[in-house]
């Protein structure tokens, strides 16, 4: 768009035509105060805080609703403007309770900040303030009406942003109030976006209210541990008797792929960390009962038994099940440990999406995957199957808001009338389980139309496909319904479009990472078949080259008495995958977990692990975006899976440095490159060390193995600097190994909904409170009613 020139406070400013004055001012570093204005939400003009003087206009004008025009002369700091702001704050504070000392928002309240910057020192108000008692609207949302300044942000973010429309305004004048959709309570997606966006302490979080003050917390930006979308979340951490306590989750750092967004799990689903069932001590089975022991004993026993079994029975007698919620570094380390130390390829995880098929089909089509950010900018989107509103809340947010803000076209094909159809430019219903036929039809197999054209005529399907083929930039999204050959069909279709990209939807926080890091019996990191160890051979030495057993085969192996040891890291296959616990009664079972899960209950050794909020590393979301996981909290008695694996290896008598190449870079060339004498380098490192500047490079430092990942896993060679700075980077699958075709039935989608999150979810008090509340999504009822 053409640029427009204007003058603000004597400064020449140039901005694209159509820019709002408030944004133009911001771009020039001039703050215009605002309450009701919020980028990407509809304009209100309600708070009148942004009044500025525009030459030739008799009255002050709202900068938030004024579009800039050529030659505009604007003043934002005249006496008149200052008085207007001051007057507005005074009026606002008249009825405001000013209970800042107990208010949750105190210390991070926009009204406080505005009052300090623009308000009056003293109040003229001497009458009685209007009062109303606070109300609980849901397990997570409370409303303290007198604090509300009626900026309508909550109403808009819920309606426009979430498409839930659970909040509204009732009554008029000074009696105006925000109200929930069910008269006295809310039935909604409980995302808490309204709380987050509230500039004051009117909407407060059931999980956080009255717990602490913002300045008493440390704020740690990390990645959500629940679904596979990878929202950036900021955890508020406070010291407590058992280490540190996570007291809040929010998205105060809006730089993440999720921007403003967090769903209920990202915002409230951190309290599992402090659940009273959390394990704080290793357990060893003695006389048939799991009894507490020291870490030393646990490592000793585990190391010894695993070594014995390996040495006596060979690696074939050992199997490993990895996690979809541990970091990339841990996953990489785990499979490296399995392959190089335990000598087995029997390693698998809970597969929820067919990434290997994606990789296989993508061969020869590099850069065909889309990032979460690209999705938001895509002019057209196709989604086959899945219900992102429930399974991929961030993805749903991106889709919805891409349609709303960029008028993107959304093509939906689904067996259910999913909520996103409200944004769809076309919605085609298909019989359940026919997603693969849709893929085949897209790939050009016209005969497949018979299987899908139940509600829509074959002609309409053909017109639809023609239209899709004309889409210049299409992002194609699909979930677990599309596996194996169907993935190949879709990619065949996409590859023929000018610039189509794909997103394959897995279910857990690091499902993609688990796949990328090679938690497969037949695939090494980067989807290299174990039969072609190549680079890895050089690095790792011996690697068994025969593909190992899949999860289900492990159970059969155990049943046949051939599995002597099972090592489970952060997974609960007994509950989540229906693995028969009794088949392992003859095996030595080691389980690392937070809780005594159904799987841990059958273990011989249970090792209390730290969760993703208590350690550092990286996650890869389902799109392939690599992000930093940063340690926020700490719970006494637990260890990260990374450390546990290293300690077990150590107990087995392994040279740990071979597993984790730590402390390698004692930069001997540092001094030389600066032209100094030898010896200089040593002094330099002494100096660095003394100041704590040199990275610790301990065997427990996941960064040490990240070096190896970046070197050996194609696509992961992203900027370390950006990574550590907390930025997301897309790992394209280009250069990956050839992938493979797996038995499609090995994929078992998580049974999670918006308020559940596998085993972890069962220990989230807040999620449970919402579920116990007999909670139904209002949207679900609405879909059903239609």
């Amino acid at each position: 768009m053409a640029d427009v020139n204007l003058t603000i406070d004597g400064k020449k400013v140039t901005a694209p035509a159509g820019t709002l004055l408030i944004e133009a001012a911001k771009s020039a570093g001039i703050e215009v105060p605002s309450f009701c204005y919020y980028p990407n939400l509809s304009l209100q003009g309600a708070c009148r805080m942004c009044l500025v003087k525009i030459e030739k206009m008799p009255k002050l004008q709202t900068a938030c609703t004024t579009v800039i025009s050529e030659g505009m002369m604007v003043t934002t700091d005249s006496d008149e403007v200052r008085q207007a702001r001051k007057g507005m704050i005074e009026l606002l504070l008249g009825n405001h309770p000013l209970d800042c000392p107990v208010c949750d928002a105190g210390g991070e309240c926009e009204l406080q900040d505005m009052t300090f910057s623009y308000g009056a020192a003293e109040s003229r108000f001497i009458d009685v303030k209007n009062h109303r008692d606070e109300q609980q609207w849901s397990p997570v949302v409370y409303f303290d009406r007198p604090r509300c300044i009626l900026c309508y942000r909550c109403v808009r973010v819920c309606g426009e942003g979430m498409d839930v429309w659970a909040l509204g305004v009732q009554h008029r004048g000074v009696s105006s109030t925000i109200v929930p959709n069910q008269e006295d309570h809310l039935e909604c997606e409980e995302c808490g976006m309204c709380i987050d966006i509230c500039p004051v302490g009117a909407l407060t979080s059931g999980a956080y209210r009255y717990k602490t003050r913002p300045w008493e917390m440390k704020h740690v930006g990390t990645t959500c541990t629940h679904c596979a979308d990878g929202c950036k979340t900021t955890l508020g951490v406070r010291r407590c008797s058992t280490g540190t306590e996570l007291v809040r989750g929010d998205n105060r750092d809006k730089s993440g792929i999720n921007g403003d967004f967090l769903c209920i799990k990202g915002r409230y689903g951190f309290d599992f960390a402090h659940h009273e069932d959390r394990l704080h001590q290793p357990l060893i089975r003695r006389n048939g009962r799991l009894t507490p022991c020291t870490w030393e004993e646990a490592f000793q026993l585990t190391g010894e038994r695993l070594r014995q079994i390996r040495d006596r029975e060979g690696g074939d007698a050992i199997a490993v099940i990895g996690s979809t919620r541990t970091t990339n570094e841990e996953n990489y380390l785990l499979q490296k440990f399995a392959r190089t130390v335990l000598g087995t390829n029997h390693i698998d995880h809970h597969r929820t999406a067919d990434y290997p098929a994606l990789v296989a089909a993508l061969a020869g089509h590099p850069k065909l995957t889309a990032s979460m950010r690209e999705l938001f900018e895509a002019p057209a989107m196709l989604l086959i199957g899945n219900d992102p509103t429930r399974q991929h809340p961030l993805l749903a947010w991106q889709i919805r808001n891409n349609v709303r803000l960029h008028r993107a076209r959304l093509y939906l094909v689904n067996a259910q009338p999913i909520k996103l159809r409200r944004q769809a430019s076309s919605f085609f219903a298909i019989p359940a389980g026919r997603e693969a036929e849709v893929a085949a039809f897209l790939a050009g197999q016209d005969s497949a139309v018979a299987a899908i054209a139940s509600e829509t005529s074959p002609e309409a399907w053909i017109r639809w496909r023609d239209q899709l083929r004309r889409e210049p930039k299409l992002v194609v999204m699909f979930g677990s319904e599309i596996r194996g050959d169907a993935v190949a069909s879709l990619i065949k279709f996409a590859a023929d479009l000018p610039e189509a990209k794909l997103i394959c939807l897995g279910d857990y926080a690091n499902s993609r990472g688990a796949a990328d890091m090679g938690l497969y019996p037949d695939l090494l990191p980067g989807y290299h078949p174990v039969t072609e160890v190549g680079e890895f051979h050089k690095d790792w030495g011996g690697v068994p080259e025969k593909p190992g057993l899949s999860l289900r085969q492990m159970a059969e192996h155990a049943q046949a008495g051939k599995l002597k040891a099972l090592y489970v890291v952060g997974a609960n296959p007994v509950e989540e995958l229906g693995l028969d616990p009794f088949v392992f009664s003859q095996s030595f079972v080691v389980v690392e977990d937070l809780f005594l899960t159904e799987t841990a209950a059958i273990a011989d050794v249970v090792l209390p692990a730290a969760n993703a909020y208590e350690k550092s590393g990286t996650f890869t979301n389902t799109c392939g975006d690599l992000q930093l996981v940063k340690k926020a909290g700490e719970v006494t008695g637990t260890k990260s899976d990374f450390e546990i694996i290293v300690r077990i290896a150590d107990a087995m008598g392994v040279a740990v440095r071979k597993l984790v190449p730590f402390g390698r870079g004692s930069r001997a060339d540092m001094g030389q490159s600066r032209g100094a004498q030898s010896g200089e380098a040593d002094r330099h490192s002494v100096w660095l060390e003394a100041r704590g500047l040199e990275p610790k490079m301990s065997p427990f430092d996941p960064m040490a193995i990240l070096d190896e990942i970046q070197r050996l896993v194609p696509g992961y060679d992203v900027s370390r600097l950006h990574l550590l700075a907390g930025m997301d980077q897309h790992t394209s699958l280009s250069g990956s190994g050839p992938g493979t075709k797996h038995d499609p039935s090995a994929i078992m989608p998580a049974r999670d909904d918006l308020f559940s999150s596998g085993t972890l979810g069962r220990y989230c008090r807040t999620l449970n409170a919402v579920l116990e509340n007999g909670h139904k999504l209002a949207a679900e009822e609405e879909v059903a009613a239609e």
Binding site: L43, L91, L92, K129, L150, V169, G173, S175
Partner: protein
Amino acid sequence: MADLVSHPDEVKVVSKRFGLGATEIDRYLELDGYKAVRKALGMAPESIIAEVKDSGLRGRGGAGFNTGLKWSFVPKQSPKPKYILCNGDESEPGTCKDRLIFEHDPHSVIEGVTIAGLAVGAHVGYIYIRGEYRYLSEIMQKAIRQAYARGFLGKNILGSGFDFDVYWHGGAGAYEVGEESALMESLEGKRGIPRIRPPFPAVVGLWGGPTVINNAETLASVPHILLGGAEWYAKLGTPKNGGTRLFCLSGRLNRPGVYELPMGYNLKKMIYDVGGGMAQGHTLKAVVPGGSSTPLLTREEIDVPMDFDSLMKVGSMLGSGGVVIVDDSACMVKFALRIMSFYQHESCGWCIPCREGTDWLKKTLTRFHSGGGVRKDIDDLQYLSENMLGRTFCPLGDAAAMPTISIVKKFRKEFEDHLDGKPCPLEKAEAIERSPVMA
């Protein structure tokens, strides 16, 4: 139904058919009814607009914008349907003229709406009637039915090939919905909250289509202009203030009532001649010249012609034609309180200054009037009002602030008299009202 009054100085244009049974279409037709539409059907749209513009007809809803000029802003081509909206929400305290038009001459409004439709190329008109005027809705409904039956509305009106539909719509009891954009929201079935402007209704109005919105009296004047000619109408009034308007005289007068007088009629004469002067035993204290939203004039300021420009010159407004006479028995603090109670009750609550300002002012005035005032309240009343003025989202905030500022400025002494243990010099002390107002 209200009794009609009359005075020899009256020039009856919009009130011409009052009391003559014109609600019946046959009677209306006998009294030149629907002749103007016939004439308009033979005119080019531009000529209709020019005629109205030249007549100097200015909006009778309060702002006094030239009606023809407003119509000329409607784009000729529009992908969305255009609409004519008749604003019959009449809720301004002191104003009771539109109701007489609806009661006595509903067809003139239908005719005016139709002519506006012809002028701007709209095919649908809405007549929005104040919720409390239920009986008028019935009269209007009947009139619309009759107009359809006789072919003045509907498809191909009077065989002209022009289609025009008119619907009536009842309000739900909010003054704010008289504000044009809030009215459109209300008509669309939403909360009566004003809209951001620009875009203005002439470009983006009802359901996003270009919309002409006019007061009922404005539209009822249009047929007369077309029949009598722009020149005739303009000459009835003063320069740039064409024609006549209905003045609603209220207060302790000998002959209060609604009179149709030429624009520019002298206010003093209006009170003492037309209204028959102050009732026995009362003297004049102040005048609200154009509905409760307009700044008050003192006894000394009433020698002024009642047209838009002259009143602007003396720091007030002609407004909606509601002339309220305040006599010596009225306490000005109580008067300010009464006005503020109205605005506090009617504020839609959308924007901070009006929502909070009216509430705060009402509380202060309540306390002040019942004896709890302190000296700084007087300045605070003015300060707060001035902080609302010109800064609200819609003019309702101004409407609350302007009279208050004028009362505090012009009757400061009465405020001071309330201090120091004199609750109200004119009334017995009342208990302090302190009830919170939140619903």
